[in-house]
Symmetry: C2
Subunit: 165 residues, 2 copies
DNA sequence: AACAGAAATTTCCGAAACGGAAATTTATGT
DNA sequence: ACATAAATTTCCGTTTCGGAAATTTCTGTT
């Protein structure tokens, strides 16, 4: 069972699992109509084993009391990006971290409880990591899409724009 | 069954489900040792219903042929942020989108197949949305953490830094 | 400290889902 | 057209799940 490129069945399964990762194979099969329950189960196993998808719990930062979210842009001294990334990776306040081209070197996503905690984390945690030159937090005012999924904020905004209730 | 703040059991369950969202309740219970299988199942149901967590499939962009990832910063004319967000939300190339404070107004994450597609999307799709003033893509060179989970890139970097094999 | 009421946990059970292996069908290359 | 490999399907014992009732634990009040 070695699978390289996805077909429509795979893509349908993925899109269903994206919305609910705990769907049973038979539920998926019956929604699709054409594929048997066992085939769907085989496909899911293959998708997971080949790491095409990962099924996991995504904690809602707001529900968990992390009310303040921010994108953080970091400028790092040349040659020290990985070093800084390793240090930052330790913190579970950081949900996302990547090295980027452009005017900053690292782009991250930060989840903290309060604005005070945000300031503290940027000043005293990130700011003190050797190699960090500049830290620029951009507070997130409204989340429209995350993990490839539209948020309720985006859905209500769209409905409003279309004149729906 | 109404649950407001998480206890250690919840947090342990969440952290296990973060790694593998398809773990069965009994597997989780046996890993923990103290909680019964039914209690774990109750907690998971409560966590899902209260939207503390969402369990879903997270597609690996690279595995799916979306080899180019970029953060996109967008400057929007005053008063048109939501309008632009609604337009952008339609594209499934956009995995993340948020309104931010700072020198840009929208911060997004983009997954496309090639650099040509990136340029095209920024120039001809985002750039032509009414209200958009400036588009600045930052190409992601290496991903260290996503969805709150460390990537293999970060793990190998950490191992190397610690002198491990 | 004792008690009442509510919430959480546990027990129990039938239905559904899962994993492994063999059989069948479909796809691929010569 | 044929041989081989890959994918799908069938079959079946075991595990997991969902619902309801019973029990325990927690909470606030007197």
């Amino acid at each position: 069972m070695q699978r390289y490129d996805l077909d429509d069945l795979d893509r349908t399964i993925i899109s269903l699992l994206t919305e609910d990762g705990r769907l049973s194979a038979s539920e998926i099969a019956s929604k699709i109509g054409t594929a048997s329950e066992r085939t769907v189960r085989n496909r899911i196993t293959a998708l997971l084993q080949s790491r095409m998808i990962t099924i996991g719990a995504i904690p809602d930062p707001t529900a968990m009391g992390r009310d303040v979210q921010a994108d953080v842009m970091i400028e790092v001294e040349p040659g020290r990006i990985e070093e800084v990334a390793i240090a930052l990776g330790e913190f579970d306040e950081i949900g996302y971290l990547a090295a980027t081209s452009g005017r900053f070197n690292l782009s991250g996503s930060l989840f903290v409880e309060t604005h005070a905690a945000l300031l503290d984390f940027c000043e005293n945690t990130i700011g003190r990591i050797p190699g960090v030159r500049r830290v620029e937090p951009w507070v997130i005012l409204r989340m429209y899409k995350a993990f490839g999924t539209r948020t309720t904020a985006l859905n209500t905004a769209t409905d409003r724009a279309e004149g729906k209730p």
